[in-house]
Symmetry: C2
Subunit: 492 residues, 2 copies
Amino acid sequence: MASDREEKKELGITVSKEENFSEWFSQVVFKAELADIRYGLQGFVVHREWGMLILRRIYEMLEKKVEKDGHLPVLFPIAIPKHFFEKEKGHVEGFAPEVFWVTKAGDDDLAEPFALRPTSETAFYSMYSLWIRSWKDLPFKRYQSRICVYRYEHTTRPFLRGREFLFFETHDAFRTHEEALEQIKRDMHILKEVAEKKLFIPFIFFRRPKWDKFAGAEDTYAADTVMPDGKVSQIGSTHDLGQRFSKAFDVTFKDKDGKDKYAYITCFGPGIWRMMAALIAIHGDDKGLVLPSSVAPYHAVIIPIYFKGKEEIVDEVATSLKGKLESAGFRVILDDDKEKTAGYKFYKWELYGVPVRIEIGPKDVERNTVVLVRRADGDRVVVSQDEVEKALKEQLLRNDEVIKERSARYHVIHEAKTLEEVKELAVKGGFIKAPFCGMGEEAESCADRLQEMTTLKVRGVPLDSEEKPSEDDRCIICGKKAKVIVYLAKAY
Amino acid sequence: MASDREEKKELGITVSKEENFSEWFSQVVFKAELADIRYGLQGFVVHREWGMLILRRIYEMLEKKVEKDGHLPVLFPIAIPKHFFEKEKGHVEGFAPEVFWVTKAGDDDLAEPFALRPTSETAFYSMYSLWIRSWKDLPFKRYQSRICVYRYEHTTRPFLRGREFLFFETHDAFRTHEEALEQIKRDMHILKEVAEKKLFIPFIFFRRPKWDKFAGAEDTYAADTVMPDGKVSQIGSTHDLGQRFSKAFDVTFKDKDGKDKYAYITCFGPGIWRMMAALIAIHGDDKGLVLPSSVAPYHAVIIPIYFKGKEEIVDEVATSLKGKLESAGFRVILDDDKEKTAGYKFYKWELYGVPVRIEIGPKDVERNTVVLVRRADGDRVVVSQDEVEKALKEQLLRNDEVIKERSARYHVIHEAKTLEEVKELAVKGGFIKAPFCGMGEEAESCADRLQEMTTLKVRGVPLDSEEKPSEDDRCIICGKKAKVIVYLAKAY
């Protein structure tokens, strides 16, 4: 058996987040038992215990929100027959290079290969054409949750890019384009409610430039958050598919005037993996994970401090505290392992990001006190055991506040007027606002040149932004009169 | 728009369960929006809204039970690399003909094809060999839920046999074989707690004959329920894998004596689809589904009875009743659609199997009463609005009791001593107990002959059965002295 010191070393994060974010991230993912990349197949990770306990809380929050917004759950096959896939031209062009194909079963070659879904538009809308008949069926709002999708990516990283990754998607059909656009706003609101209000991930919602739309969409709206390395990560997107897919899949309804019309379709995909990555990266510190109370598998860990001959009484009080807190609705674990030191346990549960540690030793038993330590800032309070519920509630709230306050620190927006300024600011990370010649196809070549020169991408224009370029503003690339102020960033 | 009468006809089940079970089952699955087989790919169904709402309650019950039993959630890749699959000889032989292969991605041929998991032993144990080190890590109990598995079946049917079907699996490693066998008993207990106590599906747990084991197992224990057509359906199984897989995948641990030893492994798969099929088939009637309160998406539907000029007051009382019942913890839906008749709504919610219908009309408003109608037996009670919570609780309980009482009617066990008797009883459906020459390889040829002649299969010996053949009992096939009393049945 390894010594306590050796075990601690194996347990702990050995690099600083500030100095080597990439290695820090990999260590947290592995050591806090979020995911294991040793499965032996690139881009296919094993989701581990602590990760699953967090992820299912994210899923539950989303499920509740979309159901409250009128969505019902469905589950579609993983298999997309080749001919479905080919019905919407823009869609197949975008996804074809990324698709895994099932071509054999047993000893048989399949007559028609099927794809593992890279996303599910073609699956949903092939059935919507059967399910939707009248304007009375609209809006028709469905979602599927706790699934994976499959994309043949070339560089992969747990929670950032996978060949298999966790997914959540809504698919909604409407009578009018206006109603579809209203839904887009509600989708954004749902993402805000979960990612920003519950997970404390700050983000900006952009309308993406035309050249960066979802394959087959009229318009794509997507949320970007800044990661600690200064690169931005898309944590969700919602798409105005217009009537493109309804025409490809014959999703029609008999309208009030008796005429058959094509439905307007939107689809929304909060990025489960990307939210998880942001949660790990933005809040974590050199000790490991730091979890908001909304997704922490346990709100608190109770760690008894044993002294020889006093184990029993300490355990007794710790057990009774646990019961008391659980009755009050808290999720609590008691770590009463006698073979590990208290120090080892402090280390371990800090790595796991549990919001509050509750210490109880023989002195506390005598004095009827208990010690609460917040994970986010290490602050300690000593309270009467009689007030432990109230104290835990307060410390959880405060822990969340600390996480929230800190979460803004990577979320920086620089301003530039020229390519030179852009280049200088690029090393600082975050967003750079700059004048640009457009968001349509006419500006794509400028975007390409920018990316070649700086690796920066045009993320788009923030939604509801009133910002207009001034008379003198010139596109940072072509020098033509600027039509928009766009946000630039390096991206995952 | 279709007339109310036409819509009712489209909605309703048009065949009797008694007369044509197979067609009845298909109609309930389709019309109650459980699954849709029109996706266009054999064996891949779309799980629809009402089905998903029921299925997730089944999943939640199982998740709670296995977690209480010490299992933690994980999620493994869907992909099983070819070389994993080939490590356990019995396993690969059993599954090879059933496996779907991914051979291409984008334009590339994959260097090594991967299978879509038909089950996940090889995936789990390849990682268990990394995760398990010491006897202190044991027992090591993990599960994955809300996933699908893939098998290349030739005849398919929603909830009975699919090429893609819902799955749930636990995989547990132990220090000793005794502990592994204890787990098998706990697995059975969990299945009993959910399938029998919550879903009212009666079943018998069998030790399967050696020729009908799970591919790669030492022993298989499986639960069979009798369906309304007299055939039995396996609704779950748990397997003693001994050290076979731990040897194939090098799942070892350092024992207390310092020596490296192979772990004993068990795995348990409650049949999500098969439980759903049994739920539909055993409890349903000619009006459609009949749901136990544990899985009913709504405990009650409130249907206001509208009379001209009284709509408003009826809606007001109905809405307040809904609020009152929801505050008391019930799941309630108010169907206040003004375009459908009350008759149509009665029909619809009966089809969906909602346990209690609450009717409220203008007369009820005047008298401060409300009518409760039980789905299972149509019994009506009129109660004061002030006592609606108590009344609903009672009616739900009684509805469950009626379902439970009735559920026994297909669960018949006949007895036979000769092949002639077996043949006569076979047409009656259910189980037939009969003397047999064994449960090991030596008896396989008798089992084969029996199946050829009668389509009956040997399901095994009930667990904890004390039943022994008498001195005179002879194997119904070979006529040798009987060693066991086995249960025979036609099977799905």
